[in-house]
Symmetry: C2
C-alpha cells in the first residue's frame, strides 16, 4: 500500500513508496486513512531536523494529524465499521513511568514514550493503519473530513486545561485572553477561548486576508503590532508561534495573577538580549505563571472532539485552506501566506 | 513611643524617633512589639528605592517581620493578654478585588492592597501597634522569640503551596527539590521541603561556614557552583535569590514536568544574553511550569506557624545570627557574610 515516508534526520528524503499492510500486532482495529494534516513538526522532519524511525527500520511513515474510517473492529471495542476515528499520537512506553501509567503520557517523565509519525512509531500517511481501541478517539460523524482538525485541537484543549488548572490554584475569574499567532493552533486556541465565554484577542502579522477574517468570524478581535498594544494586562496569554521574542513579550504582557501558556516549539540558538531582572521581578510581584505545554492525552482528545462538535462547521471548514492528493504530496509542504491548515487526502 | 521610620524614596532617611501611640481605629487588639526581623525589602526601603508612606504622612514606620505580645484584646476575639502574635503584612483594599474579597490578598488583582512597613500602612518597628484579630496570627508559645521567623516562613509556605498545586495539576510524584540560595528564605524553603519528605539540595556561594552547616543539619545536601552540577533534573526548583542569571539557570535546570517557583525580587535593568529559543523550546517539550510568588495570605500564615512549631527549635535559633537593640538599629542593616536573619529587639 502507498505511504509517505522519510529517513529521519536526512533532508529531502521524503518519498511516496510502497509499505506492507499494517501488522496485526499494531492493534486490533483496522483503519482506512481518509486524510492527514501537515504541521510544523512534519516540516521539521522533512527538513531532516527531527524524528526517529521505528527500531530496526531506516524509514518512518510520516503523519500524526489523522482522520480514518474503521474497516474492522473487534466486538466489544465500542467501535464499528464506518466510524470516523483519530489516532492518538503519543503512546506510553511498555514499561511506563508514573505519568504514562496514569494515562498522562503527555507528561511522560522518562522520555521513553513513542509518537506516531514522529518518534519510533509509523505515522498515518499510509492507506491503512492499525491500533488498539484505546489508542484512537471517535469523532462526531457530522464533522466528516473536518475531524482531521482534532489532533491540533487536542494541543489547545490540553493548553486550556493547563491554563485553567494553574489559574484556578487560587480564586480566579479570568475575562480576557490574548492569543499570539493566527496559525491553526492560534485559531483553534481562540475558538476554545470564545467557547469559554472569554473576550479573546489574537495578534498576528497579516493586516488583511483570511486570518483576520477567521478571527473576526469567531467574535474575537484581531490585532497586528506589539502584544502590549493589543490588550492591557490579559488574564491569559496563549503563545502559539514559538518565536522567541514573542515568547518573552508574552510573559512581559500578561496581567497581574495571569497565566501564560507556551505551545509553540521554538528554534534553538536564538540569542536575545533580555532585561532579565525586570522580567523575573514582575513575575514574582505579579504572581505570574508560565507553563509549557506539549502533546495531549486521551482526556484532551475527548475534550477536543467535544469542542469541534460544538463549533461552527463552516468556520472549521475555512481552516482547511488546501487539500492535496497524496500523489502530489510535495505541494502540501509549501506553505502560502494565507494558508492555515493543509491536508493530504488519501481516501476522501 | 519609639519607632524606626523612613521617608520613602529618600536614601538614608531612617531615624529612631517618637511617634504617637497607635490609634484605636487601627484595630481592636493592642500589641507590644517584641522583635522585628530585617529583610531585603527593608534594605531596599532604607536605600530609598521602595516604599510608600501612609496617605497624608511624610514618614513610614518600617518593619514587616513582626513578633508581638498581646496587651489587650476584646472578649471573643480568640486572643488573650500575653499571647504571642505576628501581624499579617498585606491587607486588602477597603473596596476589594475578587482575590482580596476571597481573603487571597497575596494575589490582589488591582494593586490597591496595603502592606505594613512597606506600602501605605505603618510597620511594626514601633513599641506598640494595633490591628484587628483577623489581621494577626497566634504562634506557638514554645517558639518564644523564634516566632519572628513566621513572616519569612509564610513566603515559603505560600511558595510550597504554589509548587504543589501547580505540580499536582496532573499526576505528580516529586522526589527532589533544589533550593537556590541559603539566605533566610532559602533555608526556610529547605526546611519545608525536608518536612515534606523530599530529597532537598541547596546551592549557595560559601564553601564553609554557618549556611552549609545549617543545610546539612536539616539532612539536606549543600552545593556550591552551577545549579546543573548540583542535581540532575530536580522535580522542583525554589529560586530564593532573585539574581537574574540564577533565575534563568533555574528554569533551564528543572527536570521534565517540573515546577520552578521564583521568590526572590530581582533588581531591574539586568540585561542578559539568553538562548531564548532553547529555553522556550525545552519549557514546551518538558511541560515546565514557572511561577512567581510574593507575599502570603492567612492560610499561608497558619501553614507557616505549623511548620515552625514542628521544626527543631535549636535549628531555628541558629537562623537568627544577630539580635540588635532598637537603639543600635543601624547595625541591623549591615549584613555580614555569615549573617542569616538579623532581628531588631524592642521588648525581648
Amino acid at each position: 500500500m502507498k505511504a509517505l515516508t522519510v529517513i529521519p534526520r536526512t533532508a529531502s528524503s521524503n518519498e511516496l513508496g510502497d509499505v506492507p499492510e499494517p501488522d496485526e500486532k499494531e492493534g486490533a482495529v483496522l483503519v482506512e486513512t481518509i486524510a492527514v494534516g501537515v504541521c510544523g513538526t512534519d516540516m521539521e522532519i522533512v527538513r531532516g531536523d527531527y524524528g526517529w524511525a521505528p527500531p530496526g527500520h531506516e524509514r518512518l511513515v510520516l503523519g500524526h494529524e489523522s482522520l480514518g474510517r474503521v474497516l474492522d473492529a473487534p466486538a466489544g471495542s465500542g467501535l464499528a465499521k464506518g466510524d470516523l476515528v483519530v489516532g492518538i499520537v503519543r503512546r506510553p512506553d511498555p514499561v511506563p513511568c508514573y505519568s504514562c501509567a496514569a494515562g498522562e503520557w503527555d507528561t511522560c517523565r522518562n522520555g521513553q514514550y513513542t509518537e506516531h509519525g514522529i518518534k519510533q512509531l509509523d505515522g498515518f500517511m499510509r492507506e491503512r493503519w492499525r491500533a488498539d481501541p484505546d489508542a484512537m478517539v471517535k469523532v462526531d460523524p457530522q464533522l466528516g473530513e473536518l475531524g482531521v482538525l482534532l489532533e491540533p485541537t487536542t494541543v489547545v484543549s490540553k493548553a486550556w486545561e493547563e491554563v485553567e488548572r494553574i489559574g484556578g490554584r487560587q480564586t480566579w475569574q479570568p475575562k480576557t485572553a490574548l492569543v499570539v499567532g493566527a496559525g491553526p493552533i492560534g485559531l483553534l486556541a481562540a475558538l476554545l477561548g470564545v467557547e469559554r465565554g472569554l473576550e479573546v484577542h489574537v495578534v498576528d502579522q497579516m493586516a488583511t486576508g483570511l486570518k483576520p477574517d477567521l478571527v473576526r468570524a469567531l467574535g474575537a478581535t484581531y490585532h497586528t503590532g506589539k502584544l502590549a498594544d493589543a490588550l492591557e494586562g490579559p488574564d491569559i496569554v496563549l503563545e502559539c508561534t514559538g518565536v522567541p521574542p514573542l515568547v518573552f513579550d508574552a510573559v512581559a504582557t500578561v496581567g497581574v495573577g495571569g497565566v501564560v501558556c507556551l505551545t509553540g516549539v521554538s528554534p534553538t540558538g536564538v540569542e536575545l538580549d533580555v532585561d532579565a531582572g525586570s522580567l523575573a521581578r514582575s513575575m514574582v510581584l505579579q504572581n505570574t505563571a508560565v507553563v509549557g505545554s506539549v502533546n495531549a492525552n486521551a482526556r484532551h482528545y475527548r475534550a477536543g472532539a467535544d469542542a469541534l462538535a460544538r463549533a461552527d462547521h463552516d468556520w472549521l471548514a475555512r481552516l482547511v485552506t488546501r487539500k492535496v492528493p497524496i500523489d502530489r504530496f510535495s505541494d502540501a509542504f509549501e506553505h502560502g501566506p494565507d494558508d492555515v491548515k493543509i491536508v493530504i487526502e488519501l481516501a476522501p
